[in-house]
């Protein structure tokens, strides 16, 4: 690769990145600051903090549709729709600079050491071609770059995980929940968040508005449009918004040569590059690889293993909200997570399933959410004169224990291309085939039973349980598996495609197993690891002709 200055879209750049979300931002920044010419094509646009609805009176109504995290509900031209009639879950995402970090909860969790060795330890899933210790330095670099807030010393992690910023207060909700955990002797810890507890870099200090998952109006949440793109652009990276890629192109040797895309005016253009980096996450990347089939790769680019699109993992979520007979200021952020628990994270086969779950306490916020806790009540218990009682009992007096369940990789859970549904540029939309396994159902049921016990131990007067959130979360993993064997994986241990050595994949699609924690810390650490590898090995890197 050369270290030429960034070029126009008619010229060849060193690195073309597709997707300006967290992993694309990390790679762009790392490559640009090391002198490589970088172009990033992003289907969405820039968002301004002032647009986010969290500090507006109608926030709860706006979050239902205009700022929903579900692209099928939002129906923006910058998102692609998803065919979900064959799926138990509706995946969440948003197109835009910063990608889904615009709307994530910024619950900043590392995988545990056992997650990298699941097959060896539990006899299921796969081992990763790297260990926790291999990834730990990259976790730490990303933690510092984005300003993670938290407390050192969580006993469920090896020593050395030191959040660079002090923690947020866990607040009344965290303290009430923690009291129950202490009674039961169960693990909990003040939760790490990618939300600044102090002013740092481009981030302001969190003002606890509590609406992180509809965008932070304060600019305190570490979305990657704030933490990485300004630096990448200062170092020369070109970010082209409203540019939607329809195909990754190849040269005569089958190397990635760039991409064909539609610009903001719908004009088809071509961008040539020496190396192509896919950062469109577990659904978008699989979609692009399938769209990029050509004569010598008729089943999709980089798909000689047949695994592109398969092994989709989505981390099914459930939750139990507890109602307490005391004021808990349940509207205070961050949201974010107050405390987390990994008590039931590790596999214990005596429970009747493999894998585990991560738990987190979150605030419940406004009056519409408070009323929704009584949706299953009879009319006379929910409406009429009773509505005032329900508000008095619930608003500000509840807390939510949510669970993220580990998902096993299964070939039948997959992303394919839909025959009829298209995006606003006429490109085939992804079709999601996803069924929750019996193992996952048992895992969720066991954990939600324990969550109810935790609420009762904490003094809840009532619990309201949601066995499955069909529209949570936005964890899109596993559709381009990382591994050492080209017959059973799509990319190697550095994220480079076995079939196409100048094609890197740096998003959640490469994860061989899902773990059960929020994945953005892992995705971005892995992306940084790949970017540093590309920088260090540029002299020997195969490139397009």
């Amino acid at each position: 690769m050369s270290t030429a200055k960034p070029s126009t879209d008619t010229e060849t750049v060193d690195v073309l990145i597709i997707g300006a979300g967290p992993s694309g931002a990390v790679v762009a920044n790392e490559m640009a600051r090391n002198g490589f010419s970088v172009v990033c094509l992003e289907q969405g646009r820039w968002f301004n903090n002032n647009e986010f609805p969290g500090d507006k009176q109608e926030w709860e109504l706006l979050s239902q549709q205009k700022w929903s995290a579900d692209p099928n509900i939002r129906r923006s031209r910058e998102d692609y729709p998803l065919a979900v009639d064959d799926s138990d879950l509706h995946p969440l995402m948003i197109g835009g600079v910063g990608g889904s970090s615009l709307l994530y909860g910024a619950q900043w969790m590392r995988l545990l050491p056992s997650d990298f060795r699941m097959y060896s330890l539990d006899g299921v899933g796969d081992n990763w071609p790297l260990s926790y210790d291999d990834l730990a330095p990259y976790y730490a670099k990303i933690d510092r770059a984005i300003g993670v807030s938290g407390v050192e010393g969580d006993p469920m992690y090896p020593p050395g995980m030191v959040p660079p910023l002090p923690p947020h207060p866990i607040g009344k909700i965290g303290r009430r929940a923690a009291t129950g955990m202490n009674k039961l002797g169960w693990h909990w810890w003040p939760a790490p968040n990618a939300i600044a507890s102090q002013r740092v870099g481009e981030l302001t200090r969190c003002a606890r508005i509590g609406t992180c998952e509809t965008g932070c109006p304060e600019g305190a949440k570490a979305s990657f449009d704030i933490t990485h793109w300004p630096s990448a652009i200062r170092h020369g990276a070109q970010l082209k918004t409203r540019c939607r890629v329809r195909k990754v192109t190849t040269d005569t040797r089958g190397r990635a040569a760039g991409a064909i895309y539609f610009d903001a005016d719908g004009v088809e253009r071509r961008q040539r590059a020496r190396v192509v980096v896919l950062a469109a996450n577990g659904i978008g990347t699989a979609r692009l690889l399938l769209l990029s089939a050509h004569g010598d790769a008729s089943d999709g680019l980089a798909n000689s293993s047949g695994l592109v699109g398969k092994r989709l993992m989505l981390h099914p979520n459930g939750e139990v909200t507890g109602i307490y007979d005391e004021p808990l200021d349940s509207w205070l952020g961050p949201a974010g997570q107050s405390i987390h628990s990994l008590e039931f994270y590790e596999t214990d086969t005596s429970r009747g399933f493999v894998g585990g779950a991560k738990w987190q306490v979150m605030p419940t916020c406004g009056p519409l959410r408070a009323l929704s806790l009584h949706d299953r009540a009879a009319f006379d218990d929910r409406w009429g004169p009773a509505v005032h009682d329900r508000i008095n009992e619930t608003l500000g007096r509840s807390l939510q224990w949510g669970i993220i369940s580990q998902d096993m990789p299964e070939d039948t859970n997959a992303v394919t291309l839909d025959d009829t549904l298209t995006d606003s540029d006429g490109i085939p939309a992804p079709r999601i085939h996803y069924r929750i396994s019996e193992n996952t159902r048992r895992l969720m049921s066991f954990n939600l039973d324990r969550v109810e016990e935790a609420h009762l131990a904490a003094g809840a007067t009532k619990t309201v349980r949601t066995d499955l959130w069909p529209d949570q979360p936005g964890h899109l993993l596993g559709t381009a598996k990382m591994g050492t064997d080209p017959a059973t994986s799509v990319v190697d241990g550095w994220g480079l495609a076995h079939d196409v050595p100048n094609l890197a994949i740096v998003d959640g699609s490469t994860m061989p197993t899902s773990g059960a924690v929020n994945p953005t810390a892992t995705i971005t650490a892995m992306a940084l690891r790949t970017a540093e590898y590309l920088v260090a090995n540029a002299r020997w890197q195969e490139i397009s002709q």
Binding site: Q57, W59, L61, P155, A207, W383, G384, L395, G396
Partner: protein, 139 residues
């Protein structure tokens, strides 16, 4: 379409009297939002639902026994009921006077005291976390 005709607004206020009736301490929607300012904001926020809302309100208009009709809607056509309830509750609980009465400050800037987190880390609750004896699985 993101606005409602006056006739539809009148029906919505009547439905609101059923769903969220006035009490000695809580106002009716029609009294808390006499100019319709907050209903307009709700309609802008959920403009996608306004046509469905208007249809539902017109179906309820002129009903001899509105409370019974609303109750039937809840039992027989929950999707339509939920549209109407979204606007009634969404508007009502947006109104500053109502929020003050229910003690909800809204989602607003409330920065934590600078020593709040540190104080939490030096009390008995956090000691429970420190006393936890299990650990991660080495791998």
């Amino acid at each position: 379409m993101s606005t409602l005709a006056q006739a539809d607004r009148n029906v919505l206020h009547d439905v609101a009297d059923v769903l969220i009736p006035a009490t000695k301490t809580m106002p009716a929607l029609r009294d808390a939002d006499p100019g319709g300012t907050w209903l307009d904001r709700a309609c802008l926020a959920r403009a996608d639902l306004v046509p469905s809302l208007a249809r539902a309100l017109r179906a309820l208009a002129g009903t001899a026994d509105l409370p019974a009709a609303v109750r039937s809607l809840h039992g027989d056509d929950r999707a339509t009921f939920d549209v109407v309830a979204t606007f009634v509750a969404g508007t009502y609980y947006m109104i500053p006077q109502v929020r003050e009465l229910i003690g909800y400050p809204g989602q607003r800037r409330t920065p934590a005291a600078i020593d709040a987190a540190a104080d939490e880390l030096s009390d008995d609750v956090f000691q429970g976390a420190l006393d936890y004896t299990s650990s991660y699985r080495p791998a």
